[in-house]
Symmetry: C2
Subunit: 339 residues, 2 copies
DNA sequence: ATGAAAGCGCTAACAC
DNA sequence: GTGTTAGCGCTTTCAT
């Protein structure tokens, strides 16, 4: 095995405890002893065994993050933000992906708890009923990310999804569109909230809410493009098709646009389309996509900061819900090409 | 704290050791006792404390994966594959991102070793000199992913990058292009190999290798689009500009195409462009992008399988280098629109 | 088939 | 300031 505290202690003729104290910056150590220990630590390139430290202290200095799917750049960026945020507090991130499967998510929660993470950040893919709460019967604090869970009054960091829906829809309305559709998801809070924002915007602008203009599909996260394409083709079958569409995410929007173009319908002249998420490539698509930016990285950093503050036992003046403001990014798919 | 083996043992009036044996599927336990233990384990929803187990046994049943940047979907998919592969062997993945910074990568290696991972998978961003080898003086086995390191005869799973360069360039040649450029990266093996493949293809087809047609830039992974754009504009300044370009990756290709279109140059009629990586959105770009698919997920699964086989002490008949075959995906940016 | 003893590398009291 | 004594929850030997 690697070098242990005991080795250093013996080398220096001090006790193991003294070494331990130096390594944890305890003050009750002589200045000289401290120097010698640190010196030797560097010489031997000593690294404390975190398993042992964790077992003995009950703290692992690691934080678990579970996301529904790493391949979504939103979550990848979220993870990046969390990782960066934790690094500042010299905590480590242990990252797990649930592959959009609630059961896998439960398992990952159990695993991470068994590994002794000090806190858990979860962008959950639980579908409502959830056996979620009991899993967290443990004393480990946790924070929900991105998606809220019904009936669970937990700490939360995410987008203001109602705001996102409102901003997107407002944008379409201000462009003069009157017959605005929504292609959205099911169940998860992000879907529900964006739909609500859409509704709010319509109402605030005295436009009627027509349920035939709302197409809701499940699994919109995974198969966005196909779903968007299909949903749009349904909308085109309406007696009076929409002149604008607010899509749940960018992939759905890509699918919708594809469907429109295939049908020789111009974007945005005939139908304006806006997505949500601001994928890196959105700008370079066949029709550069208008969208809502959610600052995922910033969300991650905020979540990390919140977690660290909870762990430091700092009296929380922090709010339980941190909502990041959505930002409109207007591109060709709504405002047309600016020549 | 949570429920421990001791609790179960006391409940059942057996010894802690017996419980331990049952949980690790040891055979020297009475069938009846085993049943009772398992029963109680389920009732209490017992989960072994992995820190303790790891400390006592020297194995953590976890494997570390370090990638240069999670936001690259290539690495996200790689991670997904690894995760899936490990799950089969009931190992857990601990994922870390080095943010393309060699120093951070070194730290992550140290951290993961300190956490007791049983093996390390590294898609390294070391820039050559590396203090890499010594870090791995530990007995922990490791596998390099995606990028090879000079002078390091390690296990490796990755793309056949020479093949990728050859396939891409061959494709352009067979399209009748004679003056083929390459926009590539620096230092890392993937860049070097793809360039070599490009060269090989030229030679094999009796085309001259012209160094003015090769533009090499650093940080091509992070700022692909801008780099591609800029590199392409340099190529356009040549006395005789290229009629085709093989780009290091899809983002570089996106940038190159953008530059071409901005200059009213048609793709692919005037200049054909091919990338590498097959990003999910490549198909939906302004000009659907021809590219080389690298099956990142499959690579991840293979890496996981290799790691597991190494840990199981299975006599390795496995090769030290596993190269995944690159696949050509021809789209509009080279073959034009098929009406 | 079962269990007692020792110990993994560290931290947390509490002495001195 | 420094060291001693007990564990943390588990696995490992080795008796029985």
């Amino acid at each position: 095995m690697a070098v242990r505290m005991k080795d250093i202690a013996e080398d220096l003729g001090v006790s193991l405890v003294t070494v331990s104290k130096v390594l944890r910056n305890k003050t009750d150590v002589g200045e000289n002893t401290r120097k010698r220990v640190l010196q030797r630590v560097r010489e031997l390139n000593y690294q404390p065994n975190m398993l042992a430290r964790g077992l003995a202290s009950g703290k692992s200095y690691s934080i678990g993050l579970i996301v529904p799917d790493l391949v979504h750049t939103f979550f990848a960026e979220l993870a990046k933000g969390v990782s960066a945020g934790l690094r500042k507090g010299s905590y480590q991130l242990i990252l797990a992906s649930a592959e959009e499967e609630p059961e896998l998510e439960r398992q990952e929660i159990v695993h991470l708890l068994a590994r002794g993470v000090d806190a858990l950040l979860i962008a959950s893919c639980q579908n409502g009923k959830s056996g979620f709460k009991q899993l967290l019967g443990s004393k480990t604090p946790y924070i929900l990310l991105d998606r809220q869970l019904p009936k669970l009054d937990a700490f939360f960091v995410g987008t203001d999804d109602i705001g996102a829906g409102r901003v997107a829809t407002d944008h379409l309305i201000h462009l003069g569109r009157k017959h605005i559709a929504h292609i959205g998801g099911e169940q998860v809070s992000t879907s529900v909230d964006r739909l609500n924002g859409y509704r709010e915007a319509l109402t605030a602008n005295n436009l009627p809410f027509r349920k035939e203009l709302v197409v809701v599909r499940s699994r919109v996260e995974e198969a966005g493009i196909q779903i968007g394409e299909h949903a749009m083709s349904d909308l085109l079958k309406l007696r009076r098709p929409p002149d604008a569409v607010f899509c749940y995410n960018d992939l759905t929007a890509v699918g919708a646009i594809r469907c429109l173009l295939n049908n020789k319908i111009r974007v945005p002249e005939d139908v304006a389309v806006i997505g949500c998420g601001n994928l890196r490539l959105s700008m370079y698509l066949e029709v550069p996509l208008s969208t809502i930016d959610q600052s995922p990285q910033q969300q991650g950093e905020q979540a990390a900061a919140l977690a660290l503050s909870m762990l430091s036992g700092e009296p929380r003046r922090r709010a339980k819900h941190l909502l990041v403001e959505p930002k409109l990014i207007a591109r060709d798919s709504t405002v047309g090409r600016i020549e």
